[in-house]
C-alpha cells in the first residue's frame, strides 16, 4: 500500500446506497424487459401460439366405414365382412422382444417373411402402437395362443374385418374382389373418404359399385400427447356403412350352370329377358378371390397368370368369340325385313357355294348339302349355303345395320367393369380399322357368323333376350336392390327398357321363334338331343365357331385336331318359347359341336330355372 487509506464508514455506506439504488433500477428495467417479452409472447402472439398448441394436442383419426354386403336375389350372402384374427405386439410392454417372438414361434407358426415385416415396422412405429406379427390366424392358432396368453404380456389377438367371399370360385367373375388400395386408385377416389380404408373394389361388382359399397368415413378428434399416444377422444362422428347390394343373380342357378360346364373352358349366361336381370353368369375356369383380399403371394399370382386355361380371364364379359351359326336367326330376320327373302323363299343347297368367276368353294357343314331349303329349314338344320346366298344379296352393310339393333358390336352396358364390345364388321369398319376394301367373300362368311365377327357371351345372351321378347330390349344388369335388408326403404334399381318391336314384324318374329323351337324339338333340329322329356318348349340355335382354318378339300376330323384347336361350341336359347322367362348363351371353348356340348348346358340351366322359379 503506497499511502495509508482510512476507512470512511459514512462515505462507504453512502456509496453502497448509491450502488444499491442503481442495482434496483437495473432490476426493475430487467423485469420490464421480461414483461415486454411476455407481452409479446402471451398477448401479441397469443393467437399464433394457441394454434400451435392446439395442433400439438389434437389429431383427427378417421374411422373406416363397414363395407356393404352383397346378396344374391334370394338373400343368400355372397360377399361379407368376417373378423380376421391377427397377433399383435405392443413393443413398449414387452421387455425382451427377441425372446417373446421366439416363444410365440414355438406355439404359432412365424415365418421369416412375417419376422422381416414385423422388424421393419418395429423400427418405424412408436413403441406403444401395436404391430402385427402374424395375420389371419386360424381358430386352432387363436385357441393355442389364448391358452398361453398369460405368458405374453403386451401380445394381443386383434380382430379386424376382412372381406370374404363364401362362394369363392363360383362368384369370382361376377363379384370380383377387393384388394389393397394403391396410389393410382387413391388418386381417383376422394382421399379423405378413404383415409381409413385399406381396401378398394378391384374387379366386378366390387369395383363397379365401389361408391355405394364403401360408405362414408367417420372421424374422431383425439387428444394426443407428445409421442402420439391417445389420451382421450374429444369428439366422434360415426362412419356411415356402405350400402348393401341385392343382386339379380341366383346362386343356385349359378351353381347349376357352373356344374353343367364341368371342366370345360367357357361361359354361360342366363338373363331374364323381361327385365334384363342377369340370373347366372359363369366363366370357367375361375379362381378363388379370397387370397387377393389379404394380398396374394406373388408365386400364387404368377401361377394363376401363367395358367394356360386363363382362370383370371372373364370369358363371359371379355371373351370375344365368332358367334358362328348362332348369328343365323338374327341374319335371317335381316333378310326377311330387308325383303331379300320371304318366309317361302327356297334356296338349293348342294353342300357348297361359290361366287361367280371364283372357284373358291364356300362349304356347308353338311358335305352332301341340305337340298331345297327355306329359311325355317336353314335355321333348323343350320344350312350355311342358304345364308351365303342370302347374305350375298343382302350385302354386308345392310346386315351390319340390322344386327346392330340386337346390340352386336356394342357394349351391353352391364353394371360390370371391363366389358368388351366385340366386332360387328361392315365395309366402313374394315376401311377404318384395316384400311382395306371389303371383299364379297367376307360377306358370305359374315352371314354365318365367321370372319371378322366377334361377340362376347354376354352380348349373345342379351341379343337372345331381345329375340325372346320379340324386340323388347332391357339392359342386362346385376344389381336388383340397393340398401340394407334391415332397412324398410329398399331402393330397387331402375334400368331403362327400350322398345325395339318395330325392328321386325310380328309375323317375322313368330316365324323365327318357331324355326328356333324346331331346331330343338324337331327330328332334324341341330339341338334335338336336348329335347327329351321337356314339358315346355325351348327356342334355340346351335353354333360352331372355327378356331383353326382348314384348307380347301380337307376334311375336318375332330379327333385329329389337338384339343385346343377344335371348334368352339355355342348355343343360344330361351324358354318357354311362347312366353320367355329366361334367355341363355353358352360357349364351350374347343367343345366341338354346339348341339352336343353347349346345348345340354343350357338345358340344365333352364330345367333348374323352371323347377324353382326364382321370386321376382
Amino acid at each position: 500500500m503506497a499511502r495509508l487509506r482510512i476507512k470512511d464508514h459514512i462515505r462507504e455506506s453512502r456509496t453502497f446506497n448509491e450502488r444499491a439504488a442503481i442495482a434496483l433500477a437495473l432490476v426493475i428495467i430487467m423485469i420490464f424487459v421480461l414483461l415486454a417479452r411476455l407481452v409479446y409472447l402471451q398477448i401479441i402472439s397469443h393467437e399464433h401460439f394457441s394454434t400451435l398448441a392446439e395442433d400439438n394436442r389434437v389429431s383427427i383419426v378417421p374411422i373406416p366405414p363397414t363395407r356393404g354386403l352383397i346378396y344374391d336375389r334370394n338373400g343368400i350372402i355372397l360377399a361379407q365382412n368376417l373378423p380376421a384374427f391377427s397377433l399383435e405386439i405392443v413393443p413398449e410392454r414387452v421387455s425382451d422382444m427377441g425372446q417373446t417372438v421366439a416363444a410365440i414361434g414355438a406355439i404359432i407358426e412365424i415365418t421369416d417373411d412375417h419376422l422381416k415385416r414385423f422388424n421393419k415396422q418395429l423400427q418405424q412405429k412408436s413403441a406403444f402402437r401395436s404391430i402385427p406379427l402374424r395375420t389371419h390366424l386360424n381358430d386352432v392358432e387363436v385357441a393355442r395362443f389364448a391358452a398361453n396368453r398369460h405368458r405374453f404380456p403386451g401380445v394381443e389377438i386383434e380382430a379386424r374385418l376382412v372381406r370374404d367371399y363364401p362362394y369363392s370360385h363360383l362368384t369370382a367373375h361376377v363379384i370380383g374382389y377387393v384388394g389393397r388400395i394403391n396410389v393410382k386408385e387413391l388418386k381417383r377416389v376422394d382421399a379423405a373418404n378413404y383415409s381409413a380404408t385399406h381396401h378398394i373394389g378391384k374387379l366386378g361388382i366390387e369395383k363397379f359399385y365401389e361408391d355405394s359399397l364403401h360408405g362414408t368415413v367417420g372421424f374422431k378428434n383425439i387428444e394426443t400427447n407428445v409421442v402420439g399416444r391417445t389420451i382421450r377422444t374429444l369428439e366422434r362422428t360415426p362412419p356411415l356403412p356402405g350400402r348393401d347390394l341385392h343382386l339379380t343373380l341366383d346362386i343356385q342357378l349359378q351353381h347349376i350352370a357352373d356344374k353343367a360346364l364341368g371342366n370345360h373352358r367357357g361361359a354361360a349366361i342366363a338373363i331374364d329377358p323381361r327385365n334384363g336381370e342377369v340370373l347366372a353368369m359363369v366363366s370357367k375356369p375361375s379362381y378363388d378371390p379370397n387370397p387377393f383380399v389379404v394380398g396374394i403371394s406373388s408365386k400364387s399370382y404368377r401361377a394363376l397368370q401363367s395358367d394356360i386355361d386363363k382362370p383370371l380371364f372373364n370369358r363371359a364379359l371379355r371373351g370375344q368369340y365368332p358367334p358362328g351359326s348362332t348369328i343365323k336367326p338374327f341374319v335371317g330376320l335381316a333378310g326377311l325385313e330387308n325383303n331379300i327373302v320371304t318366309t317361302d323363299t327356297n334356296i338349293f343347297c348342294q353342300g357348297w357355294f361359290s361366287l361367280k368367276g371364283d372357284d373358291h368353294k364356300y362349304r356347308d357343314w353338311k358335305k352332301r348339302g341340305h337340298g331345297n331349303a327355306t329359311l325355317e329349314k336353314a335355321i333348323i338344320e343350320s344350312c350355311d349355303v342358304y345364308f351365303y346366298d342370302m347374305s350375298l344379296r343382302l350385302g354386308i352393310d345392310a346386315m351390319s345395320d340390322y344386327l346392330s339393333h340386337f346390340g352386336l358390336g356394342k357394349k351391353t352396358g352391364i353394371d360390370l367393369p371391363g366389358e368388351l364390345a366385340g366386332i360387328l364388321p361392315s365395309s366402313h369398319w374394315k376401311r377404318q380399322k384395316k384400311g382395306l376394301p371389303w371383299y364379297t367373300g367376307e360377306t358370305l362368311i359374315s352371314g354365318i357368323g365367321q370372319g371378322y365377327n366377334l361377340t362376347t357371351p354376354l352380348q349373345l345372351a342379351s341379343a337372345t333376350a331381345t329375340l325372346a321378347t320379340r324386340g323388347l330390349h332391357s339392359r342386362p344388369h346385376l344389381v336388383k336392390i340397393f340398401g340394407s335388408r334391415l332397412n324398410s326403404a329398399l331402393a330397387p334399381v331402375a334400368f331403362e327398357q327400350e322398345d325395339r318391336h318395330q325392328i321386325a314384324t310380328d309375323e317375322h318374329w313368330e316365324y323365327m321363334v318357331e324355326a328356333m323351337v324346331k331346331s330343338v324339338h324337331s327330328i332334324h333340329g341341330t339341338a334335338r338331343a336336348i329335347s327329351k322329356g321337356m314339358s315346355f318348349k325351348i327356342a334355340g340355335k346351335t353354333g360352331t365357331a372355327q378356331v383353326f382354318g382348314i384348307k380347301q378339300d380337307e376334311k375336318y376330323v375332330k379327333e385329329d385336331i389337338a384339343e385346343r384347336l377344335r371348334d368352339h361350341a355355342l348355343f343360344i336359347a330361351f324358354a318357354p318359347a311362347d312366353k320367355p322367362e329366361i334367355a341363355i348363351a353358352v360357349i364351350v371353348e374347343n367343345g366341338g359341336s354346339g348341339g352336343a356340348v353347349a346345348a345340354p348346358v343350357a338345358r340344365k340351366i333352364i330345367d333348374q330355372y323352371m323347377a324353382s322359379k326364382p321370386s321376382s
Binding site: 432490476v27 417479452r37 400451435l52
Partner: protein
C-alpha cells in the same frame, strides 16, 4: 482473523412482544412471508407440472422443510462468524471442486457430484455462497473504493472457482457464481474506469470461453440464436416452451389445464421449464403477480443490505440478493427465448433440492445480517 469492532449484542425490552419474538429467532418477517408464498405457489405449479404426482410433492415438501431448517440455522449465525470462517469455507470449497474434477461422479454427462458415502452433493453449491462471502471478506478489510491491486486479487478469487466449475461442465452455475462475485465488486463502489476495464476484460475472455465450451453448450447457444433451425432436436425445448407461454395468453388456461405440459410436449417441465407451465396455466396476469413477488423479495433484500452495519454484511447481502434476481432473470429469460438455455432452475419454484437449500441458506444469511444489527438509537 477476527474483527472486534462489529461485536454484536441483542437488545431486549424496547420492542413489542412479536417483534422481539421474531428478532429473537433472527427471522425477517417480510422476507420469510414472501418466501413462503413463493414456495406455496411453487408447490401448486409443481403439482400441476408433475401431472398431479403426490410423490413428487411429498419429496419437494421434504426438501422445503430441510431448506427452511437450513435457513433458520444460518440465520442464527452472527455475520462476524460468517466473516471469520470465510477463507476456510472458500479454501475448502476449492479443494472439493478440484476433487470433483478428479474423482467426481458423472450425471447427465457432467461431473458435478461428490459422493461422501452417506451424502452426495455438489461442491459448486458451496461456492455459490463461499465466493461472495470470500470476496466481501477480502474487500471489507480495505477502505472503499478498492484499489486496482485489490480488484485484481478479488478477480482471481472469482475466476479460479468459476473456471473449475465451468470445467465440470456447469455453465449456468459458473455464470451465477461469477456474477455473485462481480456484484460484490460493483457494490463495493469500484470506480467507473475500473468497471470499463473490467468490461473490456470480459469481452476479451468471451471468445476464450467459447472455445472452451463443450459441444452441447455451444449447441445450446446456437439454438438460442435460432431455435427453428433444429425444431426436433436442440430447438425443441425452446419452441415448445414458447408455445406453452404464448398459448397461455392474458388469463392462462387455468390451473391443471395446461395442455403443453400435461400432454408432455414441454420438456423439463418440473425443473428448468416450470415457468412455462406457470405461464400457460396462469397467463400474463399470473406472471405479473409472480414477478411482483420476486421484485418484492429483491427490494427487501436490498433494503436489508443498505441497513447492514458493516461493509462485509452490506456487500454480502447485496450480492446474495442480486444473485437471486439473476437466477430469476436468467431462468425466465431462457424459457421465454430471450437467453440461451443454460440450465438454471427458477428459484424457490423449480423441483430440485440442492440449489434450493443453497438459496435458502443465502436468505438465512440475509436474515442473520438484518436481525443481528446493533440498534444505535431510537
Amino acid at each position: 482473523m477476527m474483527k472486534a469492532k462489529n461485536k454484536e449484542y441483542t437488545q431486549w425490552g424496547e420492542r413489542r412482544q412479536s417483534r422481539m419474538f421474531t428478532r429473537g429467532l433472527h427471522l425477517d418477517i417480510p422476507l420469510l412471508l414472501s418466501i413462503i408464498i413463493l414456495s406455496a405457489v411453487g408447490l401448486a405449479i409443481l403439482y400441476s407440472a408433475s401431472g398431479q404426482n403426490d410423490a413428487i410433492i411429498a419429496r419437494q415438501l421434504t426438501r422445503l422443510a430441510l431448506a427452511f431448517t437450513v435457513m433458520f440455522i444460518v440465520a442464527q449465525i452472527p455475520p462476524h462468524h460468517i466473516q471469520f470462517w470465510a477463507p476456510w469455507a472458500f479454501g475448502g470449497g476449492l479443494i472439493l471442486l478440484a476433487a470433483v474434477l478428479l474423482v467426481g461422479e458423472a450425471g447427465k454427462g457432467a461431473q458435478r457430484w461428490l459422493d461422501l458415502g452417506f451424502f452426495r452433493f455438489q461442491p459448486s453449491e458451496v461456492m455459490k455462497l463461499a465466493v461472495p462471502v470470500m470476496v466481501a471478506w477480502y474487500l471489507a478489510d480495505n477502505p472503499m473504493p478498492p484499489t486496482l491491486k485489490n480488484l485484481f486479487i478479488a478477480s482471481l478469487l472469482i475466476i479460479v472457482p468459476v473456471i473449475l466449475i465451468a470445467k465440470q461442465p456447469d455453465l449456468g452455475t459458473s455464470i451465477l457464481i461469477a456474477s455473485s462475485g462481480v456484484f460484490v465488486l460493483l457494490l463495493s463502489g469500484i470506480r467507473g474506469k475500473h468497471v470499463a476495464a473490467f468490461m473490456a476484460l470480459i469481452a476479451t475472455c468471451t471468445p476464450l470461453l467459447w472455445f472452451n465450451l463443450h459441444a452441447y453448450q455451444k449447441t445450446r447457444v446456437m439454438t438460442f440464436l435460432n431455435p427453428e433451425n433444429d425444431p426436433l432436436g436442440a430447438g425443441y425445448h425452446i419452441i415448445q416452451s414458447k408455445i406453452a407461454i404464448g398459448s397461455g395468453g392474458t388469463y392462462g388456461k387455468g390451473w391443471l389445464n395446461g395442455t403443453q405440459s400435461h400432454l408432455e410436449f414441454l420438456p423439463e417441465r418440473t425443473t428448468d421449464f416450470i415457468f412455462s407451465v406457470f405461464s400457460e396455466e396462469f397467463g400474463f396476469i399470473g406472471i405479473v403477480c409472480l414477478l411482483a413477488l420476486y421484485l418484492f423479495i429483491v427490494v427487501r433484500g436490498l433494503y436489508i443490505a443498505t441497513q447492514a452495519q458493516s461493509t462485509f454484511s452490506r456487500l454480502l447481502a447485496g450480492s446474495l440478493i442480486l444473485t437471486f434476481f439473476v437466477y430469476t432473470f436468467v431462468n425466465i429469460g431462457m424459457v421465454s427465448g430471450l437467453l440461451p438455455v443454460v440450465g438454471l432452475p427458477l428459484p424457490l419454484i423449480s423441483y430440485g433440492g440442492t440449489s434450493m437449500v443453497t438459496m435458502m441458506a443465502g436468505f438465512g444469511v440475509l436474515m442473520s445480517i438484518h436481525t443481528h444489527r446493533r440498534l444505535l438509537s431510537n
